[in-house]
């Protein structure tokens, strides 16, 4: 089928494009965006995506509240972010136009479904006049396409209800954009064939709508040119597109395979972490056990129980779930057992903004427990990095017998990017030794190098012993209320975590004499890198470093902070890393904060950095 897709109109070359698909939450915008992404990835462009959707499954139709969008930035060069302002907005209704127009630069292209611009729909979102007719969009390139009626007309020969026919309009839009940007069509066609294999009518409708959209671009005079974006230069290898949550699930499976430990996930559904549970549940042939528990506490309790039995115990959640798990994390600290806690952060406090991103659980991960309760905390910096961070969490947890927090967030969990697939042999060896049968076994005798206690699992003859949440006597692990022992054990647990080996912080400072360091952590990596790139192109001297290990910090962090007179710390919170840096290093870092539920834009980071440079 794809062979008939031959573009005949003039073609313009671009180096990058940002497209935003926006519509009602029932319009299939996430699927449309996903498909365009897959087709773009396979074409060899570098890319980054940003899904943005309401917490309600189906908010009232046609309202601003119900607008769901998917933004994709793709280019012939390395892409750091999903893009600030879209070059192209596809708006399936007036609400989608109204919700997104303010972020569009003048001159941007707007494609709307003009059938949806009825008096009723316009008034629903507060348009007094039709923006397609009142001149308010004159500074944009507007394509008002009768998406709905064209789709319905194209499908008139199929035995479908009007409602079912209308539902295919997202495929019309996808077909049109696919024509505009010369995306290949095979993968979406194959995807549809697999998805609707058991519903031939719906399959036929989707394929026909997709093709009709493509043909509309090619044949009507409304669209005079199409665009091509050359492949990006990327290191040689096999690639796939991957979201943070999928990469995390794969990383956990890889950690299980490389350690020989059974993977046990205890989880309770919560946005935006549930996709890790869904993904792992598909892979039972790796010996993976997924346990959907009755609540967040049971989820982590079962993971800790499995870990006690010698499995790789993992729990996945988001901020409110972490709050419920706190006491069990404390037990993990006391029992000194491996445990991985994945917090896909979202807007807080309380229920907050379930589908929006934030980095405001750092202090909760660090300190959100009773007593002196140190845990390791690490954070991935982009979607595919979730794969590596999962392996790293497993290394730390099993080597040091300690709970490890992974602080992902909604942005990188749902966002996706091309990933160079690593060879399995290149992955770290995570082999673990359990305590063996022995005389006079001491469950809290520490390894002198790591300070870890033995991982002594049930089923091992001769080392039967009892552990629990009460304070332990050094070495023997017997209950101890003795003052000096408690002091010793509190310090030992702290020293163990402080002594976790982590790589030094890498600082990128091309001129070597920058006065300003931008220091980030987690998912701000893309926007910061993009801003730094532009600043350097404009002749500014800026150093950049990104913290992956938040507890313990890299050993050279103190020296790095001392070297730069001005250290700016962008965070999607009100200054949580800044607080840690100030308290640990007495460095008066410059916080740069926003909590809008969306990643930083490159533009705002450039502005903030310029203000610091010239302060």
């Amino acid at each position: 089928m794809s062979k008939i897709y031959l573009v005949t109109k003039p073609v313009v070359s671009l180096d990058q494009v940002t497209i935003r698909f926006a519509g009602d939450s029932g319009d299939g915008m996430q699927l449309t965006g996903d498909r365009f992404t897959m087709d773009t990835a396979s074409l060899g462009n570098d890319l980054s995506t940003l899904p943005n959707y309401p917490a309600e499954i189906r908010a009232p139709q046609g309202t601003i509240l119900g607008v769901s969008s998917f933004q994709l930035h793709f280019a012939d060069h390395h892409v750091q972010t999903p893009g600030d302002a879209p070059d192209v907005l596809v708006a399936m209704n007036p609400a989608a136009l109204k919700a997104n127009i303010k972020e569009l630069a003048r001159g941007a292209t707007i494609i709307v479904d003009k059938d949806e611009f009825t008096t009723r729909n316009l008034s629903k979102v507060g348009y007094e006049t039709n923006p397609l007719e009142d001149g308010s969009l004159d500074s944009y390139k507007v394509h008002a396409v009768a998406l709905t009626s064209l789709t319905v007309a194209a499908l008139s020969d199929l035995a479908l209800s009007r409602k079912d026919a209308e539902r295919s309009k997202n495929m019309f839009a996808l077909g049109l954009l696919t024509w505009m940007y010369h995306r290949p069509t095979e993968s979406t066609e194959n995807f549809l064939k697999a998805k609707f294999a058991k519903k031939p009518d719906i399959l036929a409708a989707n394929l026909l709508a997709y093709k009709t959209g493509w043909n509309y671009g090619e044949t009507t005079e409304d669209f005079s040119v199409s665009y091509e974006i050359a492949k990006a230069q990327m290191p040689a290898g096999k690639y796939r597109n991957i979201s943070g949550n999928t990469a995390m699930a794969y990383g956990l499976i890889a950690a299980s395979q490389r350690s020989g430990l059974k993977l046990f996930l205890g989880s309770y559904p919560i946005t935006p972490a549930s996709d890790i549970l869904h993904e792992l549940s598909k892979h039972k042939k790796f010996g993976v056990i997924t346990f959907q528990a009755e609540d967040e506490i049971a989820a982590i309790g079962s993971a800790l129980g499995a870990s006690y039995g010698g499995a790789l115990g993992i729990t996945t959640t988001s901020g409110p779930g972490v709050a419920l798990k706190s006491e069990m994390i404390g037990l993990g600290v006391m029992l000194e057992l491996p445990l991985i806690i994945i917090d896909v952060q979202r807007g807080g406090p309380s229920t907050g903004l379930p589908t929006k991103t934030e980095q405001s659980d750092l202090l909760q991960a660090m300190f959100g427990r009773n007593g002196e309760s140190p845990v390791a905390v690490i954070a991935p910096s982009h979607a595919s990095d979730c794969f590596d961070i999962a392996l790293e969490a497993a290394r730390i947890a099993t080597t040091y017998r300690v709970p490890v927090f992974i602080l992902s967030d909604g942005y990188i969990a749902n966002g996706s990017e091309p990933w160079k697939i690593p060879s399995v042999d290149s992955l770290p060896d995570l082999h673990v030794e359990f305590a063996k049968t022995q005389e006079d076994f001491m469950p809290y005798l520490r390894d002198p190098k790591t300070l870890a206690r033995p991982w002594a699992i049930p089923g091992t003859k001769g080392i039967e012993h009892r552990i629990g949440g009460l304070e332990k006597a050094d070495k023997t692990g017997a209950i101890s209320y003795e003052a000096a022992n408690h002091d010793l054990m509190v310090r030992a647990r702290a020293a163990k975590v402080a002594g976790i080996e982590v790589p030094d912080l890498v600082v990128e400072d091309p001129t070597g004499d920058a006065e300003v360091l931008i220091l980030g952590w987690g998912s701000t990596f893309g926007p910061i890198s993009s801003a730094v790139e532009t600043l350097r192109e404009n002749g500014e001297k800026v150093a950049q470093a990104h913290i992956r290990y938040l507890n313990p910090f890299p050993k050279n962090l103190d020296a790095v902070l001392k070297k730069y007179p001005k250290v700016m710390v962008p965070e999607m919170n009100l200054g949580q890393l800044a607080m840690l840096l100030r308290s640990q290093f007495l460095k008066d870092v410059i916080p740069c904060n926003q909590v809008r539920g969306l990643p930083f834009t490159t533009a705002e980071l450039i502005d903030s950095t310029m203000a610091v440079i010239h302060a």
């Binding site: 010996g287 056990i289 009755e294 949440g469």
Partner: protein
């Protein structure tokens, strides 16, 4: 089986037992230590997991693997362990506050899933470790430190709760009756899925004598309705007859032996066991003891592990390289 037959002493740890003198927990511990050798499971394959409360100190005193965890959450930890390690025999030790108040959610969900756990609930109808507040099984009107004018709470009937939670094995025994408790433990450990045992346990400090009526030689004969599968349910003075859809306690002298209900612990209909559970009230006038319900349903852990082994048998074990390179991929030269 162990190389050499183990004895009670082999299951006794070196820890000094620290319950109050006269606590019912001593006799339960002693009964358990004496029972474990007959289980025929090596010590290293037995794990006791407890929550918080007086009863939850139990694991420290047994020479097996053990974990004294946090309040109410023992069933969660035990579930993760039992599911991932089907080779182990896992006991949960809990109390009325631990299991029915703070941990109520975990108890009912473990039972409905039928996780392979043996859950022993020591019911003393009081909070002992926190020094004497009323518990979810305290009788209405109970005067305690936190209820000086009497408790207003309606208590749980733990047996009714367990049956309502779809438990496949539900039993009741009394701390001081070593022989009866041993029989119940034997039946519970022979059961494949979750086993729930309520054990009446005296707290001599904060609720002394709560169960005297079922323990004293003068009264227990009349109060305890003995449930033995295949036999008539009766105490020394009373028996049980069908009355409509329900059950009724009557004086033995008023009916003939053939009218008495013959106990069927394997009755698939839970309403029978539920009706039995309703015979006992807070006043303990007529208290059924023994196994209320013992029916077969696949254990949760075995089903979880079967799903894994079946998919591996059908499709082969997972290949990491294949997984990573699955879906739409492309090559960059």
């Amino acid at each position: 089986m162990p190389d050499v037959a183990l004895t009670k002493k082999d299951f006794t740890s070196d820890q000094e037992v620290r319950w109050c003198p006269g606590c019912g927990d001593y006799s339960i511990l002693s009964t358990m230590q004496a029972f474990l050798p007959e289980l025929g499971v090596p010590r290293e394959n037995i794990v006791f997991i407890s929550g918080i409360g007086c009863s939850s100190r139990f694991p420290y005193y047994l020479e097996t693997f053990g974990m004294h965890s946090i309040h109410g959450r023992a069933p969660t930890i035990a579930s993760g362990l039992a599911i991932s390690r089907p080779d182990l025999t896992v006991f949960v030790i809990t109390g009325d506050g631990d299991a029915l108040s703070i941990g109520g959610n975990h108890l009912i969900h473990s039972l409905r899933r039928n996780v392979e756990l043996k859950i022993l609930l020591f019911n003393n109808r009081i909070y002992g470790l926190t020094k004497g507040q009323y518990s979810p099984t305290s009788e209405p009107g109970k005067i305690t430190k936190s209820t000086p004018l009497g408790s207003l709470d309606t208590p749980f009937n733990p047996i009714s709760l367990a049956i309502g939670a779809e438990a496949t094995f539900v039993a009741r025994s009394v701390d001081s009756d070593r022989k009866h408790l041993t029989e119940v433990l034997r039946a519970a450990t022979a059961h494949k899925g979750s086993a729930f045992i309520e054990i009446f346990q005296n707290c001599p400090i904060f609720n002394d004598g709560a169960f005297d009526v079922v323990k004293d030689g003068d009264t227990k004969g009349a109060a305890l309705l003995q449930m033995v599968h295949g036999q008539a349910i009766k105490s020394e003075t009373h028996g049980l007859i069908h009355e409509g859809a329900s059950l009724k306690v009557v004086e033995l002298s008023s009916v003939s032996e053939s009218e008495l209900v013959i106990h069927d612990a394997h009755n698939p209909d839970p309403s029978y066991a539920f009706a039995l559970s309703r015979l006992s009230s807070s006043e303990l006038n007529h208290v059924p003891v023994g196994v209320f319900r013992d029916v077969e349903r696949p254990g949760y852990g075995s089903m979880v592990n079967n799903q894994v082994s079946e998919i591996i048998a059908a499709q082969g074990a997972g290949d990491l390289n294949k997984l990573l390179t699955s879906g739409d991929t492309w090559d960059v030269q």
